[in-house]
């Protein structure tokens, strides 16, 4: 098959760009642990409120200073609706839904996960800028979807 010289160069270039993209992603994944939230843990969506993992919600501080935030995403609110976490310390978010699929996004950060009924969503992040953040539901969940939000306050560590 005859392939024009310029097109050959272009195709090698295209292959090179793809390898470069994948290489960059690979390096970010391995060296910085930039993984998408991929926690595997199941929960019965019909008994989320009674489940011991979600019966008590809010922020817990571990002995090492890191924080765990336990929240329920439901039509059309987050429980609790306002949370306070320390800055510059790892914060693990754990979420479950008792009804439909929701989204959870901390606006202005890369904190983003789906909340799928039947599964526990979990990811860990660190906030380096204290201040007030808006949390939105970013997956359509019904007529009140656009009202579903919460507030995250990142406080200066002591």
């Amino acid at each position: 098959m005859h392939v024009d010289l310029y097109e050959k160069i272009w195709m090698w270039g295209a292959g090179g760009v793809i390898v470069l993209f994948l290489g960059t992603i690979g390096i970010a994944t391995v060296s910085q642990g930039r993984l998408p939230p991929s926690h595997v843990e199941v929960i019965d969506p019909q008994t989320v409120f009674a489940d011991e993992r979600f019966a008590e919600r809010g922020v817990t501080i571990n002995p090492d200073g890191s924080a765990v935030v336990t929240m329920i995403a439901m039509m059309f609110n987050f429980l609790p609706n306002e949370i306070r976490v320390p800055a510059n310390t790892p914060v693990t978010f754990r979420l479950a839904s008792p009804d439909v699929v929701h989204g959870f996004q901390i606006v202005g950060t890369n904190g983003n996960t789906m909340v799928v009924p039947g599964y526990v969503s979990q990811f860990t992040t660190t906030f380096d800028t204290p201040g007030e953040y808006l949390i939105t539901c970013n997956e359509y969940c019904g007529l009140g979807h656009h009202n579903m939000s919460a507030t995250l306050i990142v406080e200066e560590g002591t």
Binding site: V100, V101, G142, H146
Partner: protein, 540 residues
């Protein structure tokens, strides 16, 4: 010459009607998003409209248009009518009945589940059954086209299949593979569940099956547009196709790479391991390759056209192209915006980086460049070229057809750029109101939502031009002999045959193996896990 004209015309008619209805919905949505208080504005209306716009544009308009193109390109390139014309009509009517059921469910407010219909949001069963029938209709259409190709092959032993037919066959193969996912989701999960035969469904399993279908779906839209770019546009622009074998290579690569990529829509999902997400990321980036080759081959073909029109220097071939030809202008503008959309797509697929844009307005900005322009604008341009040939009438209101692609381009620039930026700022997609109770953070988005609304208005005007032009042509166009449908010649004359591309079924085998690798293990793993189902919810 084109055979089975009435069948093609019927398909394209339904496509354009669906486009017309969805266009009005789009205008309302973009105004609503900018918080412009209009008398009929309500959350119920907004979400109903998002559902209708998504289904009618992304599924109905595209599928019917592609069915029309399949009939036109196959019969004209092979110069024989469909082997089973009645089967073609059966396909059409099954798809029409399905579309009517789904549209009824949406417009009557019984299926405000958006076009992704993620359970446990539960629509009326007619929504699911109708959508399934539309897919079944398209399967029957695919069988009618394949049967015609096989009959032609028997009549013409040893002849290479024309490029346009090669592209249409690839489209059908990608579609058959893709729809395994959505058909399983419908038949095993959603239809029995919506009829009350099944108490609960596993929402994550449904999402896996949906995205098994949802990403190759975009290649089902894109490949027919590529057929137009490769097989029609070079001649229409006054040139020749730069490389016939590479065009075939592109279609063959899409056959094998289209499906094992779906997890890149589920990066943010719990319950799927990061390893499988990474495997799908690699296949997703591999699929950039055939599109990058297309960018070269089609641009080079256009350069050939410019030079055949007398261009001499390095760049003046660009200005020699017929920018006032609606089809050529549509494709040129589509290609420009598709280049931007393609790089945006690479960001969406970039594993960790996806967290910044997932489910934000960035996504709607992205796919309005790809399906909303590269595909939809190419289809509109194709309609200006094709509909006169189908109905034997001159294009009416052709001045509107000349301006329409430019207006679309401009409207889409405003709409898409503003949505990409608000997306990076964290504004979610698909929200009726983005005020969040007066939140200061949300207030920063408001100027850009106005820009997006202005883009929406321009797109609406552009779409109206298209609809007027089509209606005018069919109802009032001057009856006249139209030029024959002819495909582009290859630059090298009789194209070299590369046997490996002629063996289209061998590519199908490779594709099936890749799909099995990418999905069999994670699906089996998922099904083996202890899982809990969800009952249905109808919060609309």
């Amino acid at each position: 010459m084109i055979h089975n004209r009435r069948l093609a015309t019927a398909n394209i008619g339904v496509a354009i009607a669906a486009f017309g209805v969805a266009t009005f919905m789009a205008l309302m949505q973009s105004l609503s998003r900018a918080s412009l208080d209009l008398p009929w504005r309500s959350a119920r209306m907004y979400y109903l409209s998002v559902t209708g716009h998504g289904v009618l544009m992304a599924i109905v308009f595209t599928t019917f248009f592609i069915m029309a193109l399949g009939v036109v390109f196959t019969t004209s390139a092979l110069n024989r009518p469909l082997k089973w014309p009645k089967v073609g009509w059966v396909a059409f009517w099954i798809a029409v009945v399905g579309t009517a059921m789904t549209t009824w469910a949406i417009l009557w407010g019984k299926a405000t589940v958006l076009y992704t219909f993620y359970p446990p949001l539960q629509a009326h069963w007619a929504f699911y059954v109708g959508a399934t029938l539309l897919v079944v209709g398209s399967w029957v259409w695919g069988a009618a086209v394949i049967a015609t190709y096989l009959a032609w092959k028997k009549e013409n032993p040893g002849k290479p299949v024309p490029l346009a037919v090669y592209g249409i066959l690839s489209t059908i193969i990608v579609w058959y593979l893709a729809t395994i996912g959505v058909a399983s989701e419908m038949l095993f999960l959603l239809i029995p569940w919506s009829l009350g035969l099944k108490e609960t469904v596993d929402p994550l399993l449904a999402r896996m099956l949906f995205w098994f279908f949802g990403h190759p779906l975009v290649y089902f839209w894109l490949l027919p547009a590529y057929v137009v770019w490769y097989a029609v546009v070079p001649r229409e622009a006054g040139g020749k196709l730069f490389s016939d074998p590479l065009a075939r290579m592109v279609f063959a690569l899409f056959i094998i790479l289209s499906t094992p990529v779906g997890f890149h829509h589920q990066f943010m999902d719990p319950g799927i391991s990061a390893g499988w997400k990474m495997a799908h990321t690699i296949a997703t980036f591999a699929i950039l390759f055939p599109s990058l080759v297309t960018a070269f081959t089609v641009t080079a073909s256009l350069e050939v056209a410019g030079r055949m029109r007398g261009a001499k220097g390095w760049f003046d071939w660009i200005w020699k192209l017929p920018w006032n030809n609606p089809l050529v202008a549509s494709v040129l503008l589509s290609m420009i915006l598709f280049a931007v959309g393609g790089f945006g797509g690479a960001i969406n697929a970039a594993f960790g980086m996806n967290a910044v844009v997932h489910n934000t307005a960035w996504i709607q900005g992205h796919f309005h460049l790809t399906v909303g322009t590269a595909v939809a604008l190419t289809f509109m341009g194709t309609a200006y070229w094709l509909v006169p040939k189908l109905v034997g009438r001159d294009l009416e209101l052709s001045l509107l057809a000349k301006w329409q692609p430019y207006l679309w381009f401009l409207g889409m620039l405003l709409f898409s750029i503003s949505n990409h930026i608000t997306g990076l700022m964290g504004m979610p997609r698909r929200v009726y109101e983005a005020g969040y109770g007066g939140s200061e953070i949300a207030a920063q988005w408001s100027g850009l939502t106005l820009v997006s609304a202005v883009g929406g208005i321009l797109l609406f005007v552009s779409a109206s031009f298209f609809l007027l032009c089509m209606l005018g042509t069919v109802l009032a166009g001057r009856k006249a002999e139209q030029p024959e449908l002819r495909f582009a010649d290859a630059l090298e004359g009789e194209p070299t045959r590369v046997l490996v591309f002629d063996r289209i079924w061998a590519w199908v085998v490779v594709a099936v193996i890749l799909v099995a690798i990418a999905y069999a293990y994670p699906l089996a793993d998922h099904l083996a896990m202890e899982r809990f189902g969800s009952p249905g919810f109808k919060p609309f």
